[in-house]
């Protein structure tokens, strides 16, 4: 399963000019509002006819402006979930869910109604009208409706952006189940929330001003110091995987990563589970010697891989901690005073409370 696209489209005040590939799993398109993310989703879905471009899914040409090919949206079989759920107001939840089912090609593989109802917890909502649902419930129904049309790929345009924190938490586990479950549906996921992407994506594409600035596996892009200004200095930080070893009675859990163990609060995964940790660059402190008498216990031996000076007084430091990579954000002055240079061995201090457990799953 692969999506490959090249697009260029000119708006009155903005030009989109991109080329990207999306394989299996979740490919996240990240960019600030107005970066052109939704335009890409609409072009892939066929709701926008770009000035020029070429889009193919599994070698099946959906658009080729040079050859005058434009496959109509209803023939593309790309289920789309929008930020506003867009449920049909005159139909019940079950009618909404089944709307696209009759257009799925005969013999196409995909979930049945009962699978989707179980996956998304929709059992008690089936007879309700969309107007009576909460935002999170609406998004779950919209997701189920897209799945039941048996798409080859899911397009999700900021599906969580209009939901508040608790409602987001309600949806995220479903998306993880979708990613890891037997459906194995590839997803093109547009978002401007780094926490969602850190938790969900396998591949990350960073978009700015209508151009692709970086693309690659999530762990690589998130730990690339060059990506710091694109993600925002407060949001940037590596994502690493860890295994849950034990849960302490005091609410602190022990997790193993390739470079050692970490002790973190608020880990809600089961013992033995593999979780993603998002380690914000601004929360990683560097020390030349192994620090002693610190309140933080999460100290890892690391090696400096690269130093990326920022526009301001800060610099992003790429670190290798055994097999994992971390990012640290320090001041340019600290780089000079500590004599940081590639190859230097030092210690990274992670303050326990600032390491946000990204997700359960995997």
């Amino acid at each position: 399963m692969s999506l490959s696209l090249t697009l260029s489209h000119r708006f009155a005040d903005f030009a989109l000019d991109i080329s990207l590939e999306a394989g299996p799993g979740i490919t996240a398109l990240f960019g600030r509002s107005g970066a052109g993310k939704s335009t890409i989703i609409n072009a892939v879905g066929g709701l926008l006819h770009p000035n020029s471009g070429r889009i193919s899914v599994d070698g099946d040409l959906l658009l080729d402006t040079d050859r005058g090919i434009f496959v109509r949206p209803h023939k593309r079989r790309l289920g789309t979930v929008f930020q506003d759920a867009r449920l049909f107001p005159h139909l019940s939840v079950s009618q909404n869910l089944m709307f696209g089912a009759r257009y799925a090609p005969r013999g196409s593989s995909g979930p049945a109604l009962k699978d989707v109802v179980a996956l998304l917890g929709l059992k008690d909502l089936l007879d309700r009208a969309p107007a009576t649902l909460s935002g999170g419930q609406k998004q779950r129904v919209a997701l189920g409706r897209a799945l039941l049309s048996h798409p080859r790929m899911l397009l999700m345009d900021e599906p969580l952006a209009s939901l508040d924190g608790p409602r987001k938490q309600e949806i995220l586990p479903f998306l993880e189940r979708l990613r890891d479950g037997p459906l194995g549906l590839p997803i093109l996921y547009v978002s401007h929330a780094v926490d969602e992407i850190a938790r969900l994506a396998d591949t990350l594409v960073l978009i700015q001003n209508g151009k692709v600035q970086a693309q690659g596996p999530l762990f690589d892009v998130m730990s690339d110091p060059a990506a710091v200004p694109l993600l925002g200095v407060r949001e940037a930080g590596a994502v690493i995987e860890a295994d849950v070893l034990a849960h302490g009675d005091d609410g602190i859990s022990t997790l193993r990563i390739s470079a050692g163990t970490l002790e973190l609060p608020g880990v809600h995964a089961e013992m033995g589970a593999r979780v993603r940790l998002r380690v914000l660059a601004q929360d990683v402190i560097l020390s030349l010697t192994r620090p002693e008498g610190l309140s933080s216990v999460n100290v890892l031996p690391v090696e400096v891989e690269a130093i990326h000076p920022g526009d301001g007084p800060g610099a992003a430091i790429a670190l290798r901690a055994n097999e994992d990579r971390l990012l640290s954000r320090v001041t340019a002055r600290a780089v000079t005073e500590l004599g940081l240079r590639p190859g230097l061995k030092c210690f990274a201090i992670l303050k326990a409370t600032t390491v946000a457990p990204g997700s359960i799953g995997r």
């Binding site: 209803h74 023939k75 506003d84 867009r86 257009y103 107007a131 009576t132 397009l155």
Partner: protein
């Protein structure tokens, strides 16, 4: 004092003509309303003006233009006559006149309803695999149903009351082309005809009020279904 046979005849013919006029106009009106609401095409302003013309022209003028187009000696009228279709001085002509006079009112109401439907819902239906015609029948049409109903009632009421164009195009032949308004007018021309006129006025009012009440009821049901109450 009861309505005489001529009054009942006129009521029957009026209902018959109005029902036909409305039924025939509905699909066409929805289509034109959809074109005007959703499409940009060359000549859109002209179509819009043409649809609204009967609203601003004196009805007598519309009736006379119909006579010029479909009269027995007119080319169009002759062609239709050859096919066995007679319009001028025939009840079918009354249907055509009523259709044309009610058409702008129907299109207006339906166009507003279509413009109120979020095109994003239609896009979404397409991403779920629905071809365009199915998008219309499964999403657009159910959502504009209240507007279609409102337009239909307006068109029906206009058809029931249409006088000027009808009497010009199909005259006022009792039992054949004499609709209720024509019959009321005729009764008022005869000394002592006022009593029958009053009877027919009561008939016309009853039909009009009944139509409005019925449409209110239906519209409320449809709205409740859409709101999910």
């Amino acid at each position: 004092m009861t309505p005489d046979a001529a009054a009942w005849d006129a009521l029957r013919l009026s209902l018959w003509v109005a029902c036909w006029a409305t039924l025939l106009a509905i699909p066409l009106a929805i289509w034109v309303a959809w074109l005007l609401a959703r499409k940009d095409f060359w000549g859109k302003a002209v179509l819009n003006a043409a649809v609204h013309l009967p609203l601003v022209l004196p009805p007598v003028v519309t009736g006379y233009l119909l006579l010029l187009a479909f009269g027995r000696t007119a080319p169009l009228g002759r062609a239709l006559n050859a096919l066995g279709i007679q319009l001028a001085f025939h009840w079918t002509g009354a249907v055509l006149a009523a259709m044309i006079m009610g058409f702008p009112l129907m299109v207006r109401a339906m166009r507003l309803a279509i413009e109120a439907v979020d095109p994003k819902l239609e896009d979404t239906a397409a991403t779920l695999g629905a071809p365009r015609t199915m998008v219309f029948f499964r999403v657009t049409l159910p959502l504009i149903l209240p507007g279609v109903l409102a337009g239909t009632v307006m068109g029906f009421a206009k058809a029931m009351g249409e006088f000027g164009a009808t009497i010009t195009f199909v005259a006022n032949i009792p039992g054949q082309t004499q609709t209720l308004p024509s019959a009321i007018w005729a009764a008022l021309q005869i000394p002592g005809g006022e009593r029958q006129a009053v009877m027919m006025v009561l008939m016309a009012s009853t039909v009009a009020i009944g139509a409005v009440l019925l449409s209110e009821l239906l519209a409320r049901r449809v709205a409740a279904r859409i709101a999910g109450a």
